[in-house]
């Protein structure tokens, strides 16, 4: 049997950071990832933060990857504006929360996980190779056996021969199988989770700059609460990427179970909001029906010709509306000048309209639909994130921060990963992998992380920023429940005392009060109705059906189902018929039936199923993430 020092299971942002950090410490580690390509299984919103906390030291992404990170990593845009909108029909009231975004932060970049994780992987693999380690993708870990005598673990996979390691970092995400196999923790409960659903919308770079009044490579985050939530606890977001927008909806799982709606209707509610409609709109070619009287071959020829022309037009337009790509085309000699690109673009457009009757309409272009569960660290972080010689990091350890509209999982996972790598490096040096020397050390290191503090306590300075930002909101809107709280909070001196008292009560008791329908739905709607500006939409977006969305996704089909329904008649499973983001469940004769082919491995059904990720290389292959 082959032997290695460390196995890292899962190649998301957390696992990759662990590999890089172990290599930085000159230690050997093997990272095993189920997806065929690194990044193909990961989904985020997402904004990647680097923090400078007053509460202690955090390990940031640039500490792990070095200066090259800011120079070369595929970061979309640096977020410089952060705005919260309360919505009700066509009314929107906006509050600038940039100060909250900047709080304790070095930077926040919008990112797409597919590209970013691929870059992380390149960096980590190159370092790891020097110490006899590396990344192995397309391999799914199925079992771990602990060897009591040797104090080692034997890792079994679906694809490779088993191998032995001294320590394991479980970075296998929110639906961690390693946590189940090892009995380290129970599955997360719906009350501890959020469901995130997202679409990526294509818009040329320069159009984004102009529409959102942004300088090149600058970005904005728009957050939404109110009627877009369709009465659920949570909210929506629109983040600007380089030449796409991420439009998402994140809702508390309990609130979805209470009032089930198809997850895509929550994104659709965002897309239909007049403000967002205007954000996402673009010039979109629309085909007319081909004359059915023409011979079949001729119809086919025309269809192909139009497809080809539209593709060329899209690609060229994307370059034309991007300074970098525009210059590149001219530099490569493909075009003499920018004007020539424009001429070519116009000529394709004319050909499409004149010759093929294509019309150009105002609409939007959706590139990808995705979904994933998100752990709420306040409610589900593992109190001791280890089991024997297995250390849990990131989503697998239930560590994510939800404070106000902000979601932080990527940066938290990276911080965990560094702490895990440091702990293992120390154990290797002393050849001591006992729970006391390794697990407990890691656990206390994580406990000291400022992120853990953010998951346990209210930060009064952060809260003050919110209060200051919303000072123009008339107090009477805010229901009786909040008025005393607000009074206490508004005074600088009393606030400290009040927060101390609140923190003694603990998040468990406070959360039902704060994370309520009042906060996310009723109050924002009232604010929007009373104070909001009217925004009118100039068109109605053509939103794809769920079938069209699934058809657009890439799957590497597996004939073996990776999920087994255990309770086909349970209330929970019946709700899944509605709550599965890709409609994998249906009800037949009072039994819930699974059709696994469209599964995007979000984990929403995991609670009452025998749930595994797909075998290596199989299943969903995201292009953006």
């Amino acid at each position: 049997m082959e032997k290695y020092d460390v196995a890292i299971i899962g190649g998301g942002s957390a696992g990759l950071a662990a590999l890089k950090q172990l290599s930085n410490l000159r230690k050997q580690a093997i990272l095993v990832e189920a997806g065929n390509k690194i990044g193909s299984k990961n989904v985020s919103g997402g904004i990647l933060y680097s923090k400078k906390s007053k509460k202690g030291h955090v390990h940031n992404v640039e500490d792990v990857y070095g200066d090259v990170f800011l120079r070369e990593a595929p970061l979309e845009r640096k977020i410089t504006k952060y705005i919260l909108h309360s919505t009700s029909k066509d009314k929107v009231y906006s509050i600038d929360l940039t100060a909250a975004h900047d709080y304790e932060s070095n930077f926040g970049y919008s990112v797409l996980m597919n590209k970013l994780n691929a870059w992380f992987a390149d960096q980590a693999a190159e370092s790891a190779q020097k110490f006899g380690g590396g990344i192995i993708s397309g391999v799914h870990v199925s079992e771990i056996k602990f060897d009591e005598q040797r104090n080692t673990s034997i890792v079994k996979t679906d694809e490779l021969e088993e191998f032995e390691v001294k320590a394991i970092i479980a970075a296998d995400g929110v639906n961690s199988e390693i946590a189940q196999i090892s009995d380290a923790r129970k599955k997360f409960l719906p009350s501890q989770l959020y469901q995130g659903v997202k679409v990526v919308v294509k818009i040329p770079e320069d159009v984004i700059n102009e529409r959102f009044s942004l300088k090149s490579r600058e970005g904005v985050a728009h957050l939404f609460a109110g009627d877009v939530s369709l009465n659920h606890i949570g909210g929506g977001f629109v983040y600007t990427n380089l030449d796409t927008l991420s439009v998402g909806a994140v809702y508390h799982f309990d609130s979805l179970l209470e009032n089930p709606v198809e997850p895509y209707t929550l994104v659709d509610a965002m897309l239909k909001n007049p403000m967002i409609c205007e954000f996402i709109k673009d010039d979109v070619p629309s085909r007319r029906k081909i004359d059915k009287n023409l011979p079949q071959e001729e119809q086919l020829r025309i269809r192909f010709a139009i497809t080809k022309l539209i593709k060329s037009w899209n690609e060229l337009r994307e370059s034309y509306f991007s300074k970098g790509k525009r210059d590149e085309r001219v530099k490569s000699g493909k075009y003499q000048s920018v004007e020539e690109i424009k001429e070519k673009l116009d000529s394709i457009r004319e050909q499409l309209t004149q010759k093929y009757g294509v019309i150009f309409v105002t609409d939007y272009v959706e590139a990808e639909y995705s979904a994933k569960l998100i752990p709420d660290g306040k409610r589900c972080r593992m109190s001791k994130p280890y089991h024997r010689n297995i250390l849990f990091v990131g989503d697998a350890a239930g560590r994510g921060i939800f404070v106000g509209p902000r979601i932080e999982g990527i940066n938290v996972g990276i911080d965990d990963a560094v702490r895990a790598a440091n702990s293992i490096s120390r154990a290797i040096d002393k050849n001591n992998f006992s729970s006391d020397y390794l697990g407990e050390y890691y656990s206390s290191s994580v406990e000291e992380s400022p992120y853990t503090k953010d998951m346990k306590q209210i930060d009064k300075d952060y809260l003050k920023i919110f209060l200051d930002a919303s000072k123009d909101v008339p107090k009477d809107i805010i229901s009786a429940r909040y008025s005393t709280v607000l009074k206490l909070m508004s005074s600088d001196t009393i606030r400290s005392v009040a927060i101390k008292f609140a923190n003694i009560l603990g998040y468990e008791r406070l959360l039902p009060m704060v994370e309520s329908e009042d906060t996310y739905v009723k109050v924002p709607i009232e604010i929007a109705e009373r104070l909001g500006k009217t925004v009118s939409k100039t068109y109605e977006p053509t939103i794809p059906s769920i079938a069209e969305r699934i058809a657009k996704l890439k799957f590497n089909d597996d004939s073996n189902p990776h999920i087994k329904v255990l309770k086909p008649q349970s209330e929970f499973m019946k709700k899944l018929v509605t709550l599965c983001p890709t409609k994998c469940y249906s009800l037949e004769n009072d039994n819930v039936i699974l059709q696994h082919e469209g599964c995007i491995e979000c984990g929403t059904c995991s609670q009452e199923t025998d749930w595994k990720h797909t075998r290596g290389e199989k299943g969903i292959v995201y292009q953006y993430g």
Binding site: E2, Y4, I30, A125, Q129, G132, G133, G134, I135, I136, V139, E159, L160, E161, F163, Q296, Q299
Partner: protein
């Protein structure tokens, strides 16, 4: 120093994939318009050589006989096999060679490669009108044991032997896998169904490492390329090209196509009526089937 030297002989062939291939009005191949690529069987041979690289850290050399543009095939094969040496045997005199004359050039070339070869791989056959004889004839000229239709192999470096699995297709019977052991050197013609398997972590790591190396090498392939004409290769002109070819293909006939007994019907996917028709046809077909 590597303990195993491996050569691959490959061929640049017309790309028969859609969009690349072009035909003359009479149905023959339009060579000028058709793009060229590394032949599909050569591709498999390159994969088989890469297996030796990953498993035994073999040193790989690739040779081909062809016009100057055949260097693109060498580059493609290098990208797949991480070869350190590329040989192009290119001379007008070589033109018109049959399999025997080609084998003469390849044999001489292989002997000029660095190190004494332990294994030579060739594809099963070329896809543009060749009979699968170049391989065996080259083996014969080299004096190597010939192993055809190999689907898997293992090397015992110490004892310098190879164990290979051969797929023997017996017409009228099921296929048989024959396992044989032979002393090195051998000449392997690789079966089209060959698929390398890497089952351990260390193999996967080596695979990744050499794949990356291969990519970089192929980007700078000229650095590894040596071109030989008749003199440089030092072959006797009597044995190569047309003069060295005892066989001449004087006519290629198309086999007339049998009349189709099935009737195709084009249905339009956007028309629900058509879809219904397709479904009912499928139902009909399924109903007629007896499932045991």
């Amino acid at each position: 120093m590597s303990e195993l030297n491996v050569a691959v002989i490959i061929k640049l062939e017309p790309d028969f994939s859609e969009g690349s291939v072009s035909y003359n009005p009479d149905g023959t191949l339009n060579r000028a318009e058709t793009k060229n690529t590394l032949g599909p069987h050569s591709t498999i041979a390159a994969h088989a050589a890469f297996y030796a690289k990953v498993m035994y850290n073999a040193r790989i050399s690739i040779g081909t006989m062809g016009p100057p543009i055949a260097e693109s095939a060498l580059q493609m094969a290098q990208r797949l096999s991480d070869a350190e040496e590329l040989h192009l045997y290119s001379d007008r005199i070589f033109a018109g060679a049959d399999t025997l004359a080609t084998a003469e050039v390849l044999k001489t070339g292989i002997e000029k490669m660095q190190g004494k070869m332990d294994i030579v791989f060739s594809g099963h056959r070329a896809s543009d009108g060749e009979t699968g004889q170049t391989g065996p004839q080259t083996a014969w000229k080299l004096g190597f044991t010939f192993l055809g239709n190999v689907i898997d192999y293992k090397i015992d470096i110490q004892n310098r032997t190879i164990t290979a699995k051969r797929l023997v297709r017996l017409q009228g019977f099921s296929d048989v896998v024959e396992e044989i052991e032979a002393p090195l050197p051998v000449f392997i013609s690789i079966d089209p169904s060959y698929k390398p398997l890497f089952n351990t972590i260390s193999q996967r790591l080596a695979f990744g490492k050499f794949q990356k190396e291969a990519k970089i090498r192929a980007e700078n392939y000229k650095q590894y390329l040596k071109v030989f004409n008749v003199q440089q290769l030092g072959v006797d002109p009597k044995y190569v090209g047309l003069p060295g070819s005892p066989t001449i293909v004087y006519k290629v006939e198309r086999i007339p196509r049998g009349k189709a007994t099935r009737q195709a019907e084009v249905l339009d996917g956007s028309n629900p009526e058509h879809i219904r028709k397709a479904v009912s046809k499928m139902k009909e077909a399924l109903a007629a089937m007896v499932i045991k």
